[in-house]
């Protein structure tokens, strides 16, 4: 049996969903659209009852994508999500507002359970609802009360689902039985007024209110011009700081574990192609996916709290006017800020943005924010070409350049947003009616469920793309055309340098020769004419290509190419070899001009396959990640070229 779970936003619908299905949940999308579809099930004896959690809407008039999905599924009996029964969740403390959607659903003639949730809250607020009067008005459905927040009422819902009452053909507002999209705005309005009037009459007889004074002091603080922004800044700081620092421990653990696993299995299996594939391709690939999990989990833990408490809508309220001229939304702030740690959870968190265009722009610009994977690249290059010292005696020059790179990314992101706003067609009207739900303590269960859900989506939907690309990159870096690679390795062993070198040095000379002659090495040489105007040679070209796996790989690749020995103080010797590196004409490869150009390149370039994979997942097409790859690539090329020209 299929059951559709429907209701307004902020009615505790997700609490009810979690209550009914527990961990037996799945996340997907409704066919053809980017609207999230959560489904789950529970067993009633031998029968499996599937629950589909539809997006929260205020009505069935199809205006937003969310509303269109709900109304099209309910109107299309052939749809694979067409339900056998409906559970309509309403907030008992705000019955009048919630009845609009409910009465529309009622008119569909499907067996139905009306769930009056937040029953305790209604009582506490002095609202009493006459259930008899509701049953009189809606005699052919089941009506139950719940307080899902504390887990009350699950049995009442499942009992009602087991014994569906047959519908009698009764409707709430008869003239609206056949609603369709072609109706004029005027007639939509007329029927909405009629429905609303009937609801008001019903409420007058079924509900008595003895309301107490309001409690808006906290809200005044949250939206205050000074304290509002300061508090939000504080929240961001805490979030950002935690993602940045706490995530490193589990990340190092994952890195270490997979490094160990790769080494262990390479020793315990017979050598050969299969061994290489598993130990150098697949295991590091899976490790490269898992490494993101701590950051994703932490970010969604915080976002879950912000959403659950209702604070997030206050953020939208104070940020909306500021972000709007850029084609963004008040809700874009959180994804963009978290992209400073990592764009992957940032892109995933853009889901909270309702408007498709604003969400898309947020996703497209998020990777321009400098993420933590750029830090190793920045610090290496800064140490290489920026002199130590102070401006005005107190501003550290190297620190100032680092700050400038971050700023460049942020400015680039905001300006790009502005351009995209003009370029991308808008499907929806630019209005925003946003509910500010009551502030309340978070329900930790819901927070944990949302963390698990995001991690699961990332591992299953995004992970496979990342593993596939990393295997491809491994192949390109480990194999070369014909026998060139082997020949080069053998040749390198004939050189005087090799014969004089220690064992460790021998290995690194060999692998440098190997990488140079691999497919990716050839590719790096092939693109040299293209990147020459930026001040790069083919060795940098190879590192640019390999760091598509993840930006920090740039450092590792350079170490391999310059045959830096794996032992000892790695970064220092890498720095030394880079300083000594000369062009064919004898001038140093890394000058202020080429170094700055390279840094600017990393600010803008989409050097991250994992982000592309997650953008594909979130936009449901390859079109947008490819567009992103191209426009960021063009930006990177143009700006690093200009930088090089200006400094050379």
């Amino acid at each position: 049996m299929k059951v559709a779970l429907l209701g307004n936003p902020n009615t505790g619908k997700s609490s009810i969903f979690n209550l009914l299905t527990g961990l037996r949940q799945q996340v997907g999308n409704f066919p053809g659209v980017t609207v999230e579809k959560k489904s789950g099930f529970f067993m009633d004896g031998k029968e499996r009852i599937d629950i589909i959690d539809f997006p929260g809407t205020y009505s069935l008039t199809p205006r937003s994508i969310d509303e269109a999905v709900v109304s099209s599924v309910l109107r299309d009996k052939t749809s694979k999500d067409y339900p056998d029964q409906i559970i309509a969740v309403v907030d008992a403390s705000r019955l009048e507002n919630n009845l609009f959607l409910f009465t529309q659903l009622y008119d569909f003639q499907l067996p139905m359970v009306l769930v009056l949730n937040m029953w305790d809250l209604a009582k506490k607020q002095g609202i009493s609802i006459d259930l008899k009067a509701l049953e009189l008005e809606f005699p052919d459905i089941s009506i139950v009360t719940t307080t899902a927040r504390v887990g009350l009422g699950k049995e009442r819902i499942t009992e009602a689902l087991k014994k569906p009452k047959p519908r009698s053909g009764r409707v709430f507002t008869p003239q609206e039985g056949e609603q369709n999209d072609e109706k004029t705005e005027k007639s939509n309005r007329q029927s909405a007024i009629k429905r609303k009037e009937k609801i008001s009459a019903l409420i007058a007889s079924a509900q008595t209110t003895n309301k107490k004074a309001d409690r808006k002091l906290l809200d005044r603080f949250f939206v205050h011009p000074v304290s509002g922004y300061l508090f939000f800044l504080f929240v961001l700081l805490v979030m950002f700081q935690s993602i940045f620092s706490f995530a490193t421990y589990p990340m190092e653990l994952i890195e270490g574990a997979f490094g160990f696993l790769a080494q262990w299995s390479s020793h315990s299996m017979p050598t050969g192609v299969l061994n290489d594939l598993i130990c150098q391709g697949i295991i590091p690939g899976i490790g490269g996916v898992l490494i993101f999990v701590p950051q994703i989990a932490l970010l969604f833990f915080f976002i879950g709290i912000l959403e659950e408490t209702g604070y997030l809508s206050r953020v939208v309220f104070i940020m909306d006017r500021i972000m709007r001229p850029l084609g963004l939304n008040g809700k874009s702030v959180v994804p963009l800020m978290s992209s400073l740690a990592c764009a992957i959870p940032g892109v995933m968190s853009a889901r909270t943005i309702g408007d498709w265009k604003e969400r898309l722009i947020t996703i497209l610009i998020a990777p321009l924010m400098s993420c933590s994977a750029r830090i190793p690249v920045y610090t290496l290059l800064i140490a290489l070409v920026i002199p130590e010292g102070y401006i005005f005696g107190f501003i550290n020059i190297q620190g100032f350049v680092l700050f400038g790179l971050y700023l460049l990314g942020i400015i680039g992101a905001l300006l790009t947003a502005f351009v995209l706003k003009l370029l991308i067609k808008n499907k929806s009207k630019g209005f925003m009616l946003l509910e500010l739900p009551n502030l309340k303590p978070p329900r930790w269960g819901n927070v944990i469920y949302s963390v698990l859900e995001k991690v699961k989506v990332f591992l299953l939907d995004v992970g496979k793309i990342i593993v596939a690309i990393s295997i491809l990159l491994w192949f390109l870096a480990s194999y070369g055309p014909g026998t060139k690679m082997e020949d080069a390795k053998n040749n390198s062993m004939q050189s005087q340098e090799f014969i004089d070198a220690s064992n460790n040095a021998k290995a690194s000379i060999k692998s440098a020769a190997g990488l140079e002659n691999s497919y990716i090495g050839h590719l790096g040489k092939f693109i040299e004419p293209v990147i020459k105007p930026l001040g790069y040679d083919w060795k940098i070209g190879i590192s640019l290509l390999t760091s598509f796996a993840a930006r920090e790989v740039f450092v590792g690749s350079l170490s391999t190419i310059y045959a830096v020995q794996a032992d000892g103080d790695n970064s220092k010797s890498l720095l030394q070899s880079m300083k000594n590196e000369k062009r064919p004409d004898g001038t140093p490869t890394y000058t202020l001009a080429s170094g700055m150009s390279l840094m600017v390149f990393y600010v803008f370039a989409m050097q991250c396959m994992s982000t592309l994979a997650v953008v594909k997942r979130e936009t449901q097409s390859w079109k947008w990640p490819i567009f992103q790859l191209v426009f960021m690539g063009v930006m990177a090329y143009v700006f690093s070229w200009l930088t090089y020209l200006a400094l050379v």
């Binding site: 205050h224 104070i318 739900p437």
Partner: protein, 84 residues
Amino acid sequence: MQTNLSHCAVGEKIEIISIEDDFIATKLIEMGVTEKLQTKVVLIAPLGDPIAIDINGFILSIRKAEARKILVKKLAKSQNSNIT
């Protein structure tokens, strides 16, 4: 006094007279904002936009552009008694 919602201050009690745009009006009715509704402005964002009104305990934020389309009557203090 008749004006539109974008010209109201925090705490001012108002009654909604009419809504200009059919599209916005339908959307607002669905969320509980009807003509003749007595309400008050509870919050205004720092840059004067958006504006939030209280509909029987349900706080709704409306952008200024839409607020301009909502004609309201400011209620004198003596008429406050029937507002929750």
